[in-house]
Symmetry: C2
Subunit: 327 residues, 2 copies
Amino acid sequence: MEINQIGEFGLIELIKKEVFSKDKQVIVNIGDDAAVIKSSPDRLLVFTTDTLVEKVHFDFRYFTFEEVGWKAMAANLSDIAAMGGIPKYALVTIGLPKSVKSGDVLRLYRGMHRIASRYDCKIVGGDTTRVPKDLFVTIALLGEVEKERLVKRSGAKKGDLICVTGDLGESLAGLEYLKKYGRSKLPLVQKHLKPYPRIHEAQTLIRSLKINSMIDISDGLSSELFHLAEESHLGAVIYEEKLPISPQCVKIASLLNLSALSLALSSGEEYELLFTIGKKQLSKLVRIKRRVKAFVIGEIVDPGKGIKIVQRSGKAASLKRTGFVHF
Amino acid sequence: MEINQIGEFGLIELIKKEVFSKDKQVIVNIGDDAAVIKSSPDRLLVFTTDTLVEKVHFDFRYFTFEEVGWKAMAANLSDIAAMGGIPKYALVTIGLPKSVKSGDVLRLYRGMHRIASRYDCKIVGGDTTRVPKDLFVTIALLGEVEKERLVKRSGAKKGDLICVTGDLGESLAGLEYLKKYGRSKLPLVQKHLKPYPRIHEAQTLIRSLKINSMIDISDGLSSELFHLAEESHLGAVIYEEKLPISPQCVKIASLLNLSALSLALSSGEEYELLFTIGKKQLSKLVRIKRRVKAFVIGEIVDPGKGIKIVQRSGKAASLKRTGFVHF
């Protein structure tokens, strides 16, 4: 069967059936941002991998080698952040076409090292290999999380408030801007090229209040909301008017003749965190607002209610996984 | 600078300078078969990654999807074996061109799972991504080793006997056979398609005698001997007449008009172990010969003596890294 007929997530289900095996040391298996493994009675290992492929995830027309390295590392750091973990050690694999020079490889590593070292994460090894054509970077990242601080995407509870850590739509707006106008110092273009993972924000959140579920926005708000709600066996409703969309994003969307709402729902690679908390935690969230930006955008509801967006008109519409509103 | 001017190992040196940072938890950093990280006072984590790229490391003209998965996993398991480790958890990344069907992906996973589960190693997650053209598989593997059982490539001592765990030249002979005659049930063709990592053999060796240094033969005997000797700051001499080359390999080499010696020196992807022991350990090695095949092929010598092969004629020649004899 063609993969696009069953989809990436259909494929993951098939793979699970093929290779899944129970192991009491494995706390989180295939299907979250990272695998979680028991390493001692109170500490867990968080183990994740993420890849950037030339022409699929980035294009050297807009990206420097350093930015590709930075972004590949940021994507992995973000997965660790979303589990409540602290990144520790990275292995880097680079598939190199012949055209790439040694200085380019060093710049790739420099970008990875710059963002990793902000979080005291070390590159401890890796592999470089030839590829016939398109460059790729795969990073495997090992982190740690204290047992009581682990947050899964499956922990949402009915009545939870749905929150995000930052403005939505920026990364995709930045990409669309890049495609049309080329490189720029605009913050949303920079967010696309050199995103910051929310490691510190996740730690502050976890230490300050009870987070029931969390996921990073790597595939777009809508898609991640589906993951979170489905893994928690619940429904969700979000409100268009509550989505944090910056004036700059609205302006660039208008310049590009795009819908800012569509950008906010479908922008992947935001690396903001989507999380849920019980209503009683709200005052605590307000108390830390100087350290962590957080916006309440909706609520977790009965599974029968599906996954909806309430538009400015007050009318509720079903969300589509792809991020576009299905009216 | 072009990468082929400085070579893969020159590049690794540059990368080390760029990203290396001291960390007292990191026991083995960039430059061995795997990174080694202290996780508790007596246990260490072994962390490695290895990649197979279509048309670089394998060709679907000879390989089934299941074999590609098997071989990618075997290459990683072999790196863990070479450190004295036990493989535990794997993350799998697959770059998929559009032409690949979901059944093919499952077969890839099946191959990985079959060889991993022999060693009780679990696939705990991963990532599938689109690629424009050539398929790749990257696996990151996490294993464990007891502190006193860790074996590095840098531990060889002057006077050590140099040993290998199995016949040499087979994998490359198998590949050359495949290229000329296509698939076959010949053992050396099977060794190329579905190699077995020497996990159990390494464990038996480490538990039975003192192994000073070890490396797996993934780039060819000659190349690995250079790594081992150089990392140990010593020289090495091996003897042509002592190299274990099977009658079948000699026969296939002759059929293909190739030198069996060249195959033995340069065959990558053998996944046999190259290791060194003190002379006093020899009787112990003999005692376990029913459980582990092992052949003494040479000796570790003063660094000033370089890295040499003594030919059948008695004449010593310098070995070349590439595996070919430099007269």
